[in-house]
Amino acid sequence: MQTTGAPVRTADDQPAGGAASADGGAASAVGSGAAGGGELPRHWPLLLAGAALVPGSVLFLLGRWGDAPAVQAWRTVCLAVTVQALPFLLLGTALSGAISAFVPEGVFQKILPRRAALAVPVAGIAGVVLPGCECASVPVAGSLVHRGVTPAAAFAFLLSAPAVNPVVLTATAIAFPGNPAMVLARLLASLATAVVMGWLWLRFGRQEWLRPAPRHTGHRAGHSRWDEFRRAFQHDFLHAGGFLVLGAMAAATFNVAVPRSVLDTFAATPWLSVLFLAGLAVLLAVCSEADAFLAASLTGFPPVARLAFMVVGPMVDLKLIALQAGTFGRAFAVRFSAATVVVAVACSALTGWVVL
């Protein structure tokens, strides 16, 4: 997307740049001089033709295909995921902004156990306090890392918060009436996955996978805390919001392209159905507050497979991978998500075998 967008934009901008520097005076001439804006670019007739044709044909195609039922369904689902997630993302980024602006340096180190191996389960259990879905937890975990919390503990929090908070557990209890074992199994399997992933990061994680994001490093003397909060909030929201839209597009594509009737073919084999529902949770990107209802409706599948759906969904899905790539970097998001899927499937299979 980035690479295809770039040449078109430059094509638009450079002729305009030439015009601006011609009548804009010395100040903008300095600005455009570095880009060689005084002269026309080498293939300027080609670029001009492109600039004239591309927007027109895009508009035509949009008008032509934009109203096809599949495209409309895609746009509806894409907007729905975005609209549903935005309030939670806003809550999460406000929290992360508040953490970096108002929480003094060193507080988290005092609260959390000194030893990282102990801090991981404590952080995992602390996920209970963040009500809401998974979009909120990514920016919060990001700001925790930047406030000096050991990454392993922050990741345990990142994974457990969307799955074990009271809102989600209540929704699970409502979706599976008369089946409290499912709620317990979800709680245990999610916590276990979060803690195991934290420990795995301690053992195998590498600092260089994490992108050292260019961002605020907390409160500095001589600055208004409210001002810092506002800037951090704004930056984190715009940043994560862009990735949210990217993830929503990917999720909508799978949502529309894969008909739900494919499901039934996989329901028969137990181990295959576990893997299939785990994969489905990644592709569909349903909110963690709603996935219990969807899991409850997949009546053809064994309970273990439905548990895997509910454990994997809040931890790894397309919009989360996009959000994590934005916050922590792509190298991290790919490795971490892949490992999390494996651990989550193993944990839910084990828990389901014992509890259900």
């Binding site: 934009r9 740049g17 907007l79 994001a213």
Partner: protein, 310 residues
């Protein structure tokens, strides 16, 4: 991304959310009614944030030291962006550019070309090293271009809101399994009897007392054209959400008889159970022999299995 553009983007997102939640009912095409208060609040917060950013940062830029060394101004963003474009050639060149851009208050042409020349993946790393060169000053100004993607939902909400999910989605889904815990109460005496599609489904397939037998019922939903299956007819459909349109599920009742209507037409149907299979067991067809089919307006909140309005 320039500070003023960021503010504009925030305000647009906020307006989009307020437009669909506060001024119109469009949000009900995507999410449930319960999401409306959070959406209104989010829209208001985004607009406030954008306005605050536009007002405060503009005021700040005027008194700020031109070299941006206090690290939180819009100027900082430019230094970073241009430093990226120059392939990390250092802060000095960036500063020159920055003054040029800042003085006329608009993104200079050179700046645009440079912006697009580098990918966002690189800019993160570069931006960081740039921040170090400039004494760790410019932190959260260098946004990746991916933030522009927010423009798509914002504009779509404001100008080109897609319709609610309908027949296309329902036709590609298996019907939602309807469970009815507990026993069935006797049906009221009214005729035709208003029913929801879920209620009809569970009565037909699970009510051993066969209370629905011989009764004229009335249901409302939209038309999903028949897939040319074994017995023809079309499907009276409702789409139900748990959270948002991504988890939509459909309940369907096959309808025999009546006129052929285009997909997504909202209709009210009266009729009796279409005898096929044993009523009250899983073998019973969830189907209706239609007596009357009348067009009705689309309900404001279509994503629920509600009783037909009389």
């Amino acid at each position: 991304m320039k500070r003023s553009l960021q503010a504009g983007l925030l305000v647009l997102c906020g307006l989009g959310l307020l437009h669909v939640s506060l001024f119109t009912d469009l949000c009900l095409r995507y999410v449930k009614e319960g999401m409306r208060p959070p959406l209104i609040a989010s829209g208001a917060v985004l607009i406030l944030l954008g306005l605050a950013s536009a007002v405060l940062d503009r005021g700040g830029e005027e008194h700020r030291e031109p070299d941006g060394s206090d690290g939180s101004g819009g100027a900082g963003g430019h230094v970073l962006d241009h430093a990226d474009g120059f392939d990390g050639s250092g802060g000095a060149g960036g500063h020159v550019q920055d003054h040029a851009d800042g003085s006329d208050g608009s993104d200079g042409p050179g700046g645009h070309a440079q912006d697009h020349a580098d990918g966002y993946g690189r800019s993160g790393v570069r931006g960081h090293s740039g921040a170090h060169e400039n004494s760790g000053a410019h932190d959260h100004s260098g946004l990746p271009r991916v933030a522009w993607l927010l423009l798509l939902p914002a504009l779509s909400l404001l100008l080109y809101a897609p319709p609610a999910l309908g027949a296309y989605t329902a036709a590609r889904q298996p019907p939602k399994p309807v469970a009815h815990p507990g026993g069935f109460d006797p049906l009221p005496r009214t005729s035709p009897l208003p029913m929801t599609l879920s209620d009809f489904t569970s009565r037909v397939q699970q009510d051993r007392g066969q209370a629905v037998k011989g009764r004229v019922v009335r249901m409302t939903g939209f038309v999903t054209p028949g897939s040319g299956g074994r017995s023809g007819g079309w499907e009276l459909t409702r789409i139900i959400l748990n959270c948002c349109a991504a988890d939509a599920q459909s309940v369907k009742v096959r309808v025999y008889g009546g006129p052929t209507l285009p997909a997504d037409t909202w209709v009210s149907v009266t009729g009796t159970w279409h005898p096929d299979g044993t009523l009250g067991t899983g073998s019973a067809a969830v189907a209706l022999d239609a007596r009357t089919v009348t067009k009705v307006p689309r309900p404001v909140n279509g994503y629920q299995d509600a009783l037909p309005l009389s």
